[in-house]
């Protein structure tokens, strides 16, 4: 893979989303529920929930899981 302009743009976005301490995928899955419920109620996010959102923004696999979880919770 070459560092073409679009790839570099993606890299730039990745770096902006990077924090010194990020959740692991294992920790994230046990915290995502409180984030989804808070978002569903339109509540302001606390720091834990904000970390959940940041992880999902940078992890495509967890983001896909989040979308399904939202559908399930919204459907209740």
């Amino acid at each position: 893979m070459q560092l073409d302009p679009e790839t570099i743009r993606k890299l730039a976005r990745f770096t902006l989303e990077t924090r010194p301490e990020e959740l692991s995928c294992d920790d994230w899955i046990h915290m995502v529920g409180e984030y989804v419920e808070a978002a569903q109620r339109g509540l302001p996010l606390n720091e834990r929930q904000a970390r959940v959102a940041r992880h999902a923004a940078g992890c495509a696999t967890c983001h896909a899981e989040l979308e399904v979880l939202r559908e399930l919770v919204d459907g209740e």
């Binding site: 893979m1 560092l3 890299l11 770096t15 529920g33 989804v36 696999t61 399904v68």
Partner: protein, 201 residues
């Protein structure tokens, strides 16, 4: 039926899933129902038999992780999240085994800085140079593989097998690579705002 599992209180879930006798059996039936709903949403394109297999795996995953539930959400929401992950994980394994190809050893060395740098903005060129330097000098081969996979949209199952690591370790490789890039930019005196401006982010 939805009400039967979602209206059960968190306390009742935790008590009854650990109970024996009729209460325990009823809770396990309710859990199966709840998990099957999550699996159906996560794996809607598979046949009924496969879906039931996924449900069994996901129920077991929920039960073995009960101690990780901290009560910060409804139990049903937490169980959904664990079940969705279990279903997705199993589906990725099946998908990979049925048609995916492992990354070759050479792949990890392919993230190289070639081609003309964007020159429309002087700042962008400087950022690109820093990124090239960090990638070439500071990222390990495995970190390059992780970040290359993310950039290329490589299936996670493929990367996990190619690197022989688990999901957490893959995320850490990716995170460490991003952090080195970020630190490299900071060391060069390039701020987040400059990066945002240069790439319209």
């Amino acid at each position: 039926m939805i009400q039967a599992s979602t209206q059960r209180s968190t306390e009742a879930w935790l008590r009854d899933l650990r109970a024996t006798g009729a209460a325990g059996r009823a809770a396990h039936v309710a859990l199966h129902e709840l998990v099957s709903r999550a699996v159906a949403r996560a794996a809607h394109s598979v046949d009924e038999s496969t879906r039931e297999d996924l449900t069994q795996v996901a129920v077991l995953r929920v039960l073995t992780h009960l101690d990780r539930f901290e009560g910060r959400s409804r139990f049903s929401t937490w169980a959904y999240s664990v079940a969705v992950r279990a279903a997705f994980g199993e589906l990725r394994k099946v998908s990979y085994r049925s048609g995916g190809e492992a990354l070759s050893d050479e792949t990890s060395g392919q993230l190289e800085a070639t081609g003309p740098a964007p020159t429309t903005v002087a700042e962008r060129g400087e950022i690109v140079e820093v990124m090239r330097r960090v990638i070439a000098r500071e990222l390990s081969v495995r970190q390059r593989t992780a970040i290359q996979g993310e950039l290329a949209g490589t299936p996670q199952a493929e990367l996990l097998i190619a690197l022989n690591i688990n999901r957490n370790a893959l995320y850490k490789l990716f995170h460490d690579a991003r952090k080195k890039l970020r630190d490299g930019l900071a060391a060069a005196g390039i701020s987040d705002d400059q990066v945002r401006d240069a790439f319209d982010l």
